[in-house]
């Protein structure tokens, strides 16, 4: 253990973290974004990105019908082409978990995980008791992954130990049943230093994944933020030998955006992270663009949105 679990040791660890070189991080992310990925590499990247998508619907207007059609799309993104891989997971609100699970099991998606957003998503403004019940509810409903939000208010006012404790308690509820993804909501953390601190804090508290954003706040998964988080994950692996996943979410809409993310992963955390077990992309509109680019590569001509589903 690199900290002993006490508030003092956590504070010392976080304050000893080196600051992020803001200009350097932005320049590096921008430089990596210029890399050109073509032909067979692009085909590989598109399939990899599809298998990493956490197909998401987090709207007040979600219905069982919408969730079910999303499940069908998750298992077989392009019904006319069986070589397209299934996506990484389905991501829904708590009350839709049961519906998603039973639908996936019914249509041959037993191995596809269902992720639930818990702990008063997206603001995280509720008492710990409510957050615990929220999480327990998701796990009981059959969620394989829990996406929790941290209390940004507590983090920003310096009460990082409260955040740490909260993540630890939620992790206990998840236990062996569900993976825990911790949403940092980087758009509200203001600085890259905070992103680095929050990343380490979440990993120390037991996160299996660290996730950029809820998708409800802009800016969301910007390239420099993902870079900083990938560096944190890499450094944590060097310190502990433990591999933590990263999930950018929000604002990744095109194949180009997704491939840029994959380049970041390869160049920062390394090739071992290029798997759906350690890297996911939270998105809804992205999948259609990936499918259209895949059609373009196969047929040689530009595809039309008329040939993919309206979600």
């Amino acid at each position: 253990m690199i900290i002993d679990g006490s508030e003092k040791s956590l504070r010392k660890f976080l304050s000893d973290l080196p600051p992020v070189d803001q200009v350097g991080a932005e320049a590096r992310a921008a430089m990596l974004a210029t890399r050109s990925i073509k032909t067979s590499s692009k085909a590989w990247a598109i399939d990899m990105a599809i298998s990493m998508v956490d197909l998401t619907t987090l709207e007040g207007a979600d219905t069982p019908g919408k969730v079910k059609s999303l499940c069908a799309k998750a298992v077989r993104p392009d019904p006319s082409d069986l070589t397209v891989p299934s996506v990484g997971a389905i991501c829904v609100y708590n009350d839709m978990v049961k519906i998603a699970r039973s639908e996936l099991d019914r249509i041959g998606g037993k191995s596809l995980p269902v992720a639930a957003v818990a702990t008063a998503f997206p603001s995280g403004r509720a008492s710990l008791a409510v957050k615990k019940i929220d999480t327990q509810d998701a796990v009981d409903a059959g969620a394989n992954e829990v996406d929790m939000v941290i209390d940004r208010g507590a983090f920003l006012s310096g009460r990082s130990y409260d955040v740490f404790e909260e993540i630890r308690v939620i992790k206990e509820i998840c236990g062996e049943k569900a993976h825990l993804k911790v949403i940092l909501e980087t758009g509200e953390l203001v600085t890259y230093d905070n992103v680095r601190k929050a990343s380490f804090l979440a990993m120390l508290a037991g996160a299996d994944f660290i996730k950029t954003s809820t998708g409800k706040v802009a800016p969301a998964a910007t390239a420099p933020v993902v870079l900083v988080m990938l560096e944190a994950v890499r450094d944590y692996f060097t310190l502990t030998g433990e591999k933590i996943g990263v999930k950018p979410a929000g604002g990744i809409r095109t194949t180009k955006d997704a491939i840029k993310q994959l380049v970041l992963v390869k160049e920062t955390a390394g090739e071992q992270w290029l798997t759906p077990d350690l890297f996911r992309i939270g998105a809804s509109a992205l999948l259609n663009d990936l499918l259209m680019q895949r059609m373009k590569l196969r047929s040689g001509h530009y595809a039309s949105a008329n040939y993919v589903t309206v979600d």
Partner: protein
């Protein structure tokens, strides 16, 4: 006082902005007197792809604007064009080598074309639509609706009128357009882009690419998101080629007789028939 010549390197018009070609290329055009005139951008297939994305996302908003509003905006293009007619005359003279008088006539005709089609916007559904008789307690209406994204190969000569003749009817019907300027006579089309950018036309409804027709043609033909093509500026061989590659998505490929006609608007529209119970 003599001043330094400012040689222009023009850009494309995509999504309401003026980007350089993604490829970074330009090509040289010469005037009728064989002297250097300007460097227009040489669009690549990726510029075309970007233009289609812009045109597609702008199209529904344009089609859903009231026909009256569309008419007003087309009329506005005519107004702005009139203010810049001198520039158009200069460009036409330099490119085509015609007299100032002939160039002026062409500009006036182009402006009239906008006004003519702007008037058609809110009259089209009355003239071409109908209330159909059916044997039941229903109303049955047929109305024309926009097709979608239309690619236009403008004629080379007359350079300005050729561009306006293809563009105006497509906009009047509520389609968005990708105008491929004539390879040898692109200047008036480029200036037309500058006019359109300041005429309240929503960004992306009109996109203008300059470059090699032969390079863009197969990509336009095979692009599944492009619903129709006006082949005014293509020769017979090129027309056959685009028909061949455009068959996959049943692209509507048309060539029109010269002159203004409502049929030019309707060619890039679909007729929709709806039933509605009487008394509700």
């Amino acid at each position: 006082m003599s001043s330094l010549d400012v040689n222009k390197t023009y850009k494309l018009f995509i999504g309401g902005a003026f980007p350089r070609s993604e490829s970074g290329r330009v090509y040289e055009i010469k005037g009728a007197n064989k002297k250097f005139l300007a460097n227009p951008a040489l669009a690549s297939r990726k510029d075309l792809r970007d233009a289609v994305v812009a045109a597609k996302s702008a199209q529904s908003g344009w089609a859903n604007a009231t026909a009256f509003n569309r008419g007003q905006i087309l009329y506005r293009i005519a107004e702005i064009m009139q203010g810049r007619s001198e520039q158009f005359v200069e460009e036409i003279c330099a490119l085509e080598g015609v007299t100032t008088k002939a160039a002026k006539i062409q500009v006036v005709e182009a402006i009239d074309t906008w006004v003519w089609y702007s008037g058609w916007c809110d009259k089209l559904s009355s003239v071409s639509g109908s209330q159909n008789q059916v044997s039941g307690p229903f109303y049955n209406f047929t109305t024309p609706e926009a097709l979608g994204v239309i690619a236009l190969f403008a004629e080379g000569k007359p350079s300005l009128l050729g561009a306006v003749r293809t563009l105006a009817p497509v906009l009047a019907g509520g389609n968005s357009a990708i105008l491929i300027a004539s390879e040898s006579y692109p200047l008036p089309a480029i200036t037309l882009g500058e006019v359109i950018a300041t005429s309240d036309v929503p960004g992306g409804v009109v996109n203008i690419l300059t470059g090699k027709t032969s390079e863009l043609l197969p990509w336009i033909g095979s692009h599944m998101e492009i619903d129709g093509v006006d082949v005014a500026g293509l020769n017979k061989k090129q027309e056959d080629e685009i028909k061949l590659v455009g068959a996959d998505n049943l692209k509507r490929i048309s060539r029109f007789a010269l002159g203004n006609h409502p049929e030019r608007i309707l060619s890039f529209m679909e007729h929709k028939t709806i039933w509605h119970p009487i008394g509700i």
